[in-house]
Subunit: 332 residues, 2 copies
C-alpha cells in the first residue's frame, strides 16, 4: 500500500474544454476511519461525459462539484479496511469514490461487485451506469419494440455501443452514427450493427434518408447539435427521441437548440429526457439480464483503459475529442 | 344570392410574412353540381396560424396548397343546393371549404352543425378544431392532472384561451403568456386565469420563476422561440411540454430551436407533438362535453370577426402581429 492518497480536486470552473489549470493534484494522508466507515482502494475510475456537467455552475440534477472538492467520479475498488458491518475487507465495491486512489465511504450508494461474474472494469461499463443507461433509456424511456428502425449517435461510445447491441438482440434494425472509419467498421463488423454513418466523412442527413427510408422509429441521442437536427428531420410517425446526452454541446457557452423540433408535431413524436438513477430499484434485475447477455456472447463490453491516475486531465479530454472507442476508464 | 363566386388563390409562396402579391382574388361562376355533390354558401371562414404552414413548400402533415389552388381554410356555411343524399338544403355544415364564398363538396370531412346549440362562428372556435386542439392537446397529449401548474403561451389566442379555461375547470393553477396589457387583463379578469405574463412588457423567465415557484408541470406551447426556452428553463420534474404550434417562427426562414432542451433531461420531462385530426374518432364526445361547458358558463368562446372576404390577406396578418384576441374569423 502506498502511504499517500492521490487526488484531483476542482481548482476552477472551465470555460469550454477543461484544461490543466482547472484541476489541482495533491497528495494527502490516507484518511482514517470512524465507526460505520470503510476504506476503498480505488482500482478503476469511470470517465463520463456527465463529468463536464458536474463542474458547471448552476442548477442541475445534482449539485455541482465545489471549487476545492475532490472531483466526483464513479469507480470500483477493494475494501482494505472496515469499521462498517456491511462491508468487509476483501469485498469489491462500486460507488461514487471520486478521482482519488483511496476513498472513505459510509456505504451510501455503494454496491458490491463480483470479479467472478466479470472483470472489474466491466462493472463501470456494461454492468455499470453505462450499461444501465442504455438499458433503461432504450427499453423504458424509448419503449423499444421489435422491427423498429433504431438510430443511435455516439455509437462507438460507451453508452451508444450498448444501445445498439441491445436494440439488435431485441430484433430491430440498428444504424449507428460515429466519427471515423475505424469506429464505423467496428460497430458493424464487431458489434453487428446493420449500418454505420461516419459523421466526419458523410452527410448525415442524406445517409439517414438512405439508411432509414421509412424514417427513424427510435432515436437515441448522445451528442446533440447538428446530428440531433439531422435525426429529427428523418423521424417516422410516432417516433420516440431519447435525450441521453449532448456531448457536442457540453463545452459550449451557448447550446444549439434543435431547430427541427417541429418535426415532433408533424410526426406526432415524443422527445424525452431521463436519468438512470431514477431506475435504481430495478438495477439488480437489469444487471442480472445484462450479465446473462454478456455471458452468452450476445453483448460485448469494451473498455478503453488508460493507466495512471495522474493522467486524469488529459484522458478526460479524449471523451470530447471522440478519441475513445468503448468505455473510457482510468486505472489507478 | 350573388351570381359570382369570390375566391382567393395562392399566387406565389411567401418569403416571411405573406403579402398581397402572394394571393390572387378572382370572381368565378358558381360551380354546378353532379350527383353526390352539394353546394355550400360559406358564411364564416376560419383563419389559423396553420395556414402559414399549408402554403410552405415541402413535406409536412398535409400536402401544401399548390400555386393557383384555392387557399385551404376551414369554414361553416349553409347547404343551398344538393345532389347528395346525406346533405339537404338548409343544413348547416362545417368543413374545409377554402377561402371562397361558395364551395362544392362531396361530404368528405364535412360535419353538420346546429345553430340551436351555438352561434355558427362558435363551430370554428370552441366547438371547432380550435377547441378540439385545446381539449386533446391538454387532456390526452399533456395528460392534464389536477393541482398542476399549467402555463400556456398565446394565451389570448384562439387555442390558448381554451387551454387555460379547460385547465382551470379541471382544478389547476393556470398562468397565461400573452402580448399587451389588454390581453393579460382579459384572460385574468374575464376568463379566470390565475395570472398573466405580458411578454411585451415583462421578463418572461423572471415572471415564470415568480409565478411558478415549484416549476411548470404542463407547458402548452403555441409560439416557440424565446418563450419556449423561458418555459423550458422553469420545468418541474416530470413536466410535459405540448408542442401545438410555433407562431413566432412560422414566417422565419430559419427556425430557432429550443436551446434549453436539455432541461428535458435534468427534469425527466417529455416534449410531445400532436395533430388534432388524429383524434377524429373522439370528436363527437369532446364536442358534446365542450358544448355542455359552454352552456353552463364554465367556458367562454370568443371570436374576433372581420367582415368581408376581400379582407382575407390583411386579416390573416393579424394572427402574426398578435392583434386578435380570441378566434380570428372572416365573415363572408
Amino acid at each position: 500500500m502506498q502511504s499517500k492518497n492521490r487526488q484531483f480536486k476542482l481548482a476552477s470552473r472551465p470555460n469550454g474544454l477543461p484544461n490543466d489549470m482547472n484541476w489541482s493534484f495533491s497528495e494527502e494522508p490516507i484518511p482514517s476511519l470512524i465507526d460505520g466507515e470503510f476504506l476503498v482502494k480505488v482500482k478503476y475510475i469511470s470517465l463520463d461525459p456527465a463529468m463536464r456537467g458536474w463542474i458547471r455552475e448552476g442548477k442541475s440534477y445534482t449539485p455541482p462539484v465545489k471549487i476545492g472538492e475532490i472531483m466526483r467520479a464513479l469507480g470500483v475498488g477493494e475494501v482494505i479496511e472496515s469499521k462498517h458491518s456491511g462491508f468487509a475487507v476483501g469485498d469489491f465495491v462500486s460507488g461514487i469514490f471520486g478521482v482519488q486512489a483511496y476513498a472513505k465511504s459510509k456505504g451510501d450508494m455503494v454496491n458490491k461487485v463480483y470479479p467472478t461474474i466479470a472483470p472489474l472494469p466491466v462493472f463501470l461499463s456494461a454492468l455499470g451506469m453505462t450499461g444501465l443507461t442504455a438499458y433503461f433509456g432504450l427499453l423504458d424511456v424509448g419503449e423499444l419494440k421489435s422491427n423498429d428502425t433504431v438510430v443511435v449517435s455516439g455509437a462507438a461510445g460507451a453508452v451508444g455501443m450498448m444501445v445498439g447491441q441491445i436494440a439488435k438482440l431485441k430484433g430491430n434494425k440498428v444504424i449507428g452514427i460515429a466519427g471515423g472509419k475505424d469506429k464505423c467498421k467496428y460497430i458493424v463488423d464487431e458489434l453487428g450493427f446493420d449500418a454505420a454513418i461516419d459523421y466526419k466523412n458523410e452527410n448525415v442527413k442524406q445517409a439517414l434518408q438512405k439508411q432509414c427510408p421509412n424514417g427513424i422509429d427510435l432515436y437515441f441521442d448522445n451528442v446533440g447539435g447538428d446530428i440531433l437536427d439531422d435525426a429529427l428531420s428523418q423521424l417516422a410517425m410516432h417516433a420516440r427521441v431519447v435525450i441521453c446526452g449532448a456531448i457536442s454541446q457540453y463545452n459550449s457557452t451557448t447550446i444549439k437548440g434543435p431547430a427541427n423540433y417541429l418535426s415532433l408535431l408533424v410526426n406526432r413524436a415524443t422527445m424525452k429526457g431521463f436519468l438512470v438513477f431514477d431506475y435504481s430499484q430495478k438495477f439488480p434485475q437489469a444487471i442480472k439480464e445484462m450479465a446473462a447477455w454478456i455471458a452468452s456472447g450476445k453483448i460485448q463490453s469494451k473498455e478503453d483503459i488508460v493507466v495512471g491516475i495522474e493522467k486524469f486531465p488529459s484522458t478526460l479530454l479524449k471523451l470530447f475529442s471522440g478519441e475513445n472507442t468503448g468505455k473510457l476508464i482510468l486505472e489507478v
